[in-house]
Amino acid sequence: METRGKVFKYPDNVDTDVIIPARYLNTSDPQELAKHCMEDIDQDFVDQVQKGDIMVAGWNFGCGSSREHAPLVIKTCGTGCVIAKSFARIFYRNAINIGLPILECPDAAEEIAAGDEVKVDFNTGIIEDLTTGKQYQAQPFPPFIQNIIKKGGLLAALREG
């Protein structure tokens, strides 16, 4: 499993209110919600993002509200992966539960620049910046979480026992 795409770069403490503002949460339709992904800090994101593209951010990505709509809109927009220095815990849990691949890698998150072409291998945790030629090693998921992702999310994993 891998993704390859262009990088959108964001700062520390990107909160779920800017990922998907609460004023739009009067619906749970992912397509409808995805139109507003990141709009309060990056109005161009929704128009520019292509399938497989990668978000790269600083510390504590996804802090704030527990809204699962946040990882859901990032995934629905076509984003293939989020790389950050660290993730807020509820966001981390939600991303796994809905099947949005996320990787913690402070070096990669620091050095990779906006617009770089990046390839990520989820099985090995290897992040390759094709623009600079640099390679980074992220912590791969623990087996418990790999199982949830392999089964296609928490509920699918539960169903299969």
């Binding site: 403490n13 004023r23 009067n26 504590n60 527990s66 699962e68 509820i90 939600n94 169903r159």
Partner: protein, 420 residues
């Protein structure tokens, strides 16, 4: 090795003699909670996964509080979906308009959550119930769906930071000033993935409303949960209120903490978090040049009876400053009723404030007090992120009810007097 209070509750609910930080466990849940924003997503997941019944109709709580009374047609559709699900599954703790309150004020008040519980809620401020001596944490909708179906959830056992409280708060400070000060010290990810365990002789002087407020904002430091030891105040609060028998846990004397931070309550000052992060704290007294357009007193953080009493004591017989809109939102029906009976509502109206039915409304920029471009609000809520209460160029200053009420009267950020 000894266990922290959180670790002991988790071990008991996982059926294990002991647990260690980092260990993955599956724990039995006492209460699974959702609201009108997160429950619809959970219902869709629950159905999609083919589940047809909840694990226990008395252990699921659904509270319509974010956008009710419904703010628009879409919100009404979401409430309807929650209502139909609650009805078809005979969910006994379903709170609709007329019974509802802001979930984290309502569930402790109604005795739905109690000491020793293991609770998940699809709302990040579910960590509030740690004030009762429970393990309680926020999750997403998929976890809620799985919890409703199985009565269980997986957890990574957290390590802990101990906050050793000593002394007593000055008269113009409350739990809100304590937690804002702590977040200012350790930052918005200062307790990421960890428990915040509050201990020490200073705990005894804090009211239950102070403790609920402090645990409520543990998430704003990135924590998995916040928790207070059970003392006589907790027992008096739970007595005659808890639906189920409370269980009291204590940290082992040799429990391990990542670090211990001492907090001298007597040194706390009225504190304000400036835009756009809760860690951006300053003494209120240093911000007296900041002119404001709106004040909100309410939310799951500060919409409780003591908060209303504080606002009343400062505002009665006075007038809200010209050009300031002051919105007061008692958090539950019971608190609203008491505000009416004690004459607070009359005093608020005479002061020029408005009083709303319980709702999360403005806190998350839903409705009932949205800010326009360039406007500033002093709010007793919990987040001041970009666009949180309205326009992306509006500003939210987080403060205690005393600071908010005092600021409403002057039109500028104002520290409350030493005695009021």
């Amino acid at each position: 090795m000894g266990m922290t209070m959180t670790q002991k509750i988790l071990a008991a609910h996982a059926g294990l003699p002991e647990v260690k930080p980092g260990e993955l466990i599956e724990a039995k849940l006492d209460i699974v909670l959702g609201n009108d924003i997160t429950t619809p997503v959970a219902i869709n997941e629950f159905k999609k996964a083919g589940f047809d019944q909840v694990f226990d109709k008395d252990r699921v709580a659904i509270v319509l509080d974010h956008f009710v009374p419904n703010k628009d047609i879409k919100a009404a559709q979401q409430s309807k979906q929650c209502r139909e699900f609650a009805c078809s599954h005979c969910v006994s703790h379903f709170y609709d308009v007329g019974k509802m309150g802001i979930e984290h004020a309502l569930l402790p008040e109604q005795g739905v959550v109690t000491a020793g519980d293991c609770i998940i809620g699809a709302d990040s401020h579910t960590c509030t119930y740690g004030a009762l001596g429970a393990f309680s944490t926020g999750v997403g909708s998929t976890d809620m769906a799985a919890g409703m179906a199985t009565g269980k959830a997986w957890f990574k056992v957290p390590s802990a930071i101990r906050f050793e409280l000593k002394g007593q708060l000055p008269g113009n400070c409350s739990g809100k000033d304590v937690i804002l000060t702590i977040i200012g010290m350790i930052g918005v990810d200062g307790a990421l993935y960890k428990s915040m365990e509050f201990t020490g002789e200073g705990v005894a002087s804090l009211s239950m409303d102070d403790r609920l407020c402090i645990c409520n904002m543990a998430i704003e430091a990135g924590a998995k949960n916040g928790i207070f030891p059970v003392d006589e105040k907790t027992k008096a609060y739970l007595n005659g209120r808890s639906e189920r028998e409370p269980v009291f846990y204590e940290a082992d004397p040799d429990a391990e903490y990542e670090k211990t931070i001492e907090i001298d309550l007597s040194k706390i000052v009225p504190t304000v978090s400036c835009p756009h992060l809760p860690e951006n704290t300053h003494p209120a007294a240093e911000l007296s040049h900041i002119k404001i357009d709106q004040v909100v007193i309410g939310s799951c953080t500060n919409g409780r009876m003591e908060d209303m009493e504080t606002a009343y004591r400062i505002m009665k017989g006075n007038k809200v400053a010209e050009g300031v809109r002051c919105i007061i939102i008692p958090a539950t029906q019971q608190i609203m009723k008491e505000c009416v009976e004690r004459g607070y509502v009359t005093a608020f109206i005479e002061a020029g404030a408005v009083v709303s039915t319980p709702t999360c409304g403005p806190c998350l920029g839903g409705y009932m007090g949205i800010l326009a471009e360039g406007e500033r609000c002093v709010a007793t809520t919990n987040r001041n992120f970009v666009g949180r209460m309205g326009h992306v160029k509006s500003e939210v200053y987080l403060a205690s009810p005393a600071t908010a009420a005092q600021s409403a009267l002057t039109g500028y950020i104002t520290a409350p007097k030493e005695e009021f």
